[in-house]
Each structure stands twice: as C-alpha cells, then as structure tokens.
Amino acid sequence: MIKHTERIWLLLIGLTFAGAWLAETGNAGWPLTLIVAFLIGFKGVVVVDHYMEMRLANRRIRYALYVFIALIVSLVFIGHGWSEFVRQLTDIG
C-alpha cells in the first residue's frame, strides 16, 4: 500500500507531467489560463499543506502562505482577462 507522503509525491509528479504535456500542445486562451491557475493553486496548496506540514501547524503562517498563492492565481486571471487595463494603468509613456 502506498503511504501518504508517497501519494502526495506521485500526485505532484503526475500534475507536472500534465503541465509539460500541455506546454507541448501549444494551446492558448481561457482554457489554458484556467488550467494553469489550477495547477499553480492546487500544487502550491499541496506543497504548503503536506510538504511543509502547515495543515498541522500555525494557522496565521498557513493562511499567509495561502494568500501568497491566491495573489499569484489572481495575477494569472488579471494578466489574461484585464491585460489592457494593466497596460493603461502602468503606461508611463
């Protein structure tokens, strides 16, 4: 029987291969953005909870790490859906 730590490692490896396959397909657009956001968010939370063992420890640190991951995922959506707004907001020309 595969132990918990090994299951987590296999899950992360499997998702990495899925990401690599996705990269080779050359797809773009909203479906890819959603999948990338999921891969970043899910893998990030899995590493925080199970590799760093934060699900067993200090809640404030755990939630701060979740906020970091949530901000990154938000950037992915903003970067794809509101890139024109970002361009105007940061235009110094």
Binding site: T5, E6, I8, W9, L12, I13, T16, F17, G19, A20, L22, A23, E24, G26, N27, A28, L32, T33, V36, L39, I40, K43, G44, V47, V48, H50, Y51, M52, E53, M54, L56, A57, N58, R59, I61, A64, L65, F68, I69, L71, I72, L75, V76, I78, G79, S83, E84, V86, R87, T90, D91
Partner: protein
Amino acid sequence: MNNFKPTDSAEVSAEGRDHGRIPGNAGIWVGIFCILVEFLMLFTVYFVSKAHNPEAFSHGPDKLFTLAGTTITLLLLTSGYCMVKAVKAIRRDEHKVSLRWILGAIFLGLGYPIVKYFEINWNIAHGVDGETGIFYTVYYYLTLNHLVHVCWALIGLGWIAIRTGFGSYTSDNYRGLEAAALFWHTTDVIWLVIFPFFYILR
C-alpha cells in the same frame, strides 16, 4: 539556535495537530516571507511586461526547452519529498536514515544548476539570450534569481547534513533541520509558479 529547548507547543509532535506551533523557527519565516514578497514583485513585473508586450509573451514559450523546465520541476519535487522523509526520520531519532534522505535531497537539488547550465547552452545554441526579447529578459532574470535562492538553500542543506551526521538533532530538538526543509520547500513553491509562467502560459 538549535540548542535551546523547543517551546511547549513544539513538543507536541508535528504528526499531530497543534495550530499554534511554528515549524522550524521564527527567523526562517522572516526569510521565507521576504523571499515570497520579492518573487511576488517579480511576478507582477512579469504580468506588466506581458500586458505591454502580448505578442512576445504569446510566442515566448515556443523557443524554450520544455524538457529542461519539466526536469527541474521533477528534481525539486523529488528533492522536497526526500526532505519530508528526513524530517520524519529525525522525529523517530533515526539519524542515519535522516542523513541519507538529506544527502538524497542535496544530490537531486544539485541536478537543478546542472540542468540549468545545459538549458542555457541549449538556449544560446538556438539563439535565445537575454537580449533576444523582453520575454527572455524577464525569463533569465526570474529563473537565475530563483537559481541563486536554490544555491543558498543547498548550502543550508549541506550544513544540516553535517550537523545531522554529528548527531546534533534529536526527536526533541530538530528545529534547524526543519527550518532548512521549509526553506527548501519554499523554493519548490516558487518554481511551481515559474514553470507554468514561462513554459506553458501563452
């Protein structure tokens, strides 16, 4: 730092829940959050650059060596797995087992700079350097910055390997080992963002 006794909350085994327990030590978390803020800023730079240069970022990943990025991800995740096992082993006072897992983590972690070296050579052979375009400038800046942090973390792993070899850690006092493992996992988390940004997202 590793000689003081753990606090009452830390004496509760990390295998059990204690939502007040700070894994590793407070100092390592200051370092970890500094690095997370630094990379959050760099990722913001990535998206601002992307907003101003959508064409460059749309086709940028096409010229990168996806196999190298995938290999680095696999190396870091497996190395992280080794550190999880090292921490679990020291909790059982299995010093030799813990040391073997730490050495395994270092061995796999050293694969990262080696793969990076070959990737950069491959890039240059295919006409991709820091001046090829804005996408590649951001790519080199972010990935090499991450590599520097990984090198620091590897030095930290080397130090705890020495201390574990000398029997400095026990099931009651392994905060130094745990702190190094946490720093190593943080480099994992950051790479898990870098990989899709540069090799997948179009």
